[in-house]
Symmetry: C2
Subunit: 214 residues, 2 copies
């Protein structure tokens, strides 16, 4: 129940998106046995404004102390609570193509509390294939399996033409949060959270840093 | 030379990261034949603060007019100039595994000015394979080919254990901007821009939106 009490202040989407970035670096510091970190160090390492970081972390309470900074293990624990990463979360993956397989392997490697526990594909040739220890199920089983497992989060890696249909079926089965890799804008009802993972966006922002001369 | 004059004000990394997001939505509006858009509409659609959007777009000049908004085609053109997406950019991909293949296919589908023009892998079994119309080259050819093509941007999709070595070789060959998918922190000299594409981060921020009850 402790995790619920932490949630009380409604935090903005932008903050929610930055928390995993802080978490990743804090875990790196923790692995290196670093006990405390200042907002300036975080800012320098993450290429962000320290004032912004302090403001974001103020959601977690007043434990950043002048001249000492934040306690790394405590901050990790609190961010995990806020993000609900202090409990196991099952994720469904729809689309067992190259990207789907890459995500399954990637996910397994990281050993997070988030884990893919169901993989679906409409192609009979892929059904029954084993990926990261899971057998690919036929897309026809999607609703039944998601309801059976009580899955609330899903990743879409099907072709653009299939994505809206898959999305609608996920929503009808009780999925609350979707990460879409298909290059198409999807519509979801207001109670469902949809993030669009656009690999092109990352490359586009990098182009800015190329030499003028090219 | 026009693109150079636009660049004059040094813009922050955060703005550089948001521009492709604006661009994607503006291109969607353009496809729908929408001529103008207000910062409020943009904010609502992109789940961002309209004041932040107005501030970001002020880098492009004073063309957002009260009650009318921004001219879509003009804004697209200007953002492309700032991001240097008004010219073709060649990208090298190192690692022809599932993720590498997915990125090559994805990239080809989008038909952006960014295009993968060289693919490398150290596995002899993969060398010579054709992916998205390109023949996979042996990793030994990396330096020679990147220099020959004058490539300045690269994507790393090799295993974590190989990533730093590949990164060093890319930098020595003149690469200025790197997108790293390997789950490891890489070191680059100050003149090189490195972005870390962490697929887990997206999933982690989504977890926040799940029901408390799970």
């Amino acid at each position: 129940m402790e995790a619920m009490s932490v949630k009380t202040p409604r935090i903005s989407e932008a903050v929610v998106r930055r928390l995993p970035i802080y978490l990743r670096y804090l875990q790196h510091l923790h692995d290196m046995n670093v006990k405390t970190v200042s907002s300036h160090e975080l800012g320098q390492k993450l290429d962000m404004n320290p004032a912004q970081i302090r403001k974001d972390l103020a959601y977690f309470g007043e434990f950043g102390r002048k001249g000492i900074g934040y306690e790394v293990p405590y901050l990790i624990e609190k961010i995990k609570q806020i993000l609900k990463l202090d409990r196991p979360i099952s994720v469904a993956l729809v689309g067992a193509g190259h990207l789907g397989i890459a995500l399954s392997n990637y996910n397994r490697y990281k050993q997070e509390t988030l884990s893919i526990t169901a993989i679906f594909d409409a192609d009979p040739a892929k059904v029954g294939m084993e990926i990261g220890g899971l057998r690919v199920k036929h897309a026809d089983e999607l609703e039944a399996e998601i309801i059976r497992q009580g899955i609330q989060m899903a990743i879409i890696t099907v072709p653009a033409s299939e994505a809206q249909n898959v999305c609608d079926r996920l929503v009808r089965s009780g999925v609350k949060a979707i990460l879409n890799f298909a290059p198409v804008n999807l519509r979801v009802p207001p109670h469902v959270r949809l993030n669009h993972a656009d690999l092109t966006t990352e490359l586009q922002s990098l182009a800015y840093y190329l030499d003028e001369s090219e």
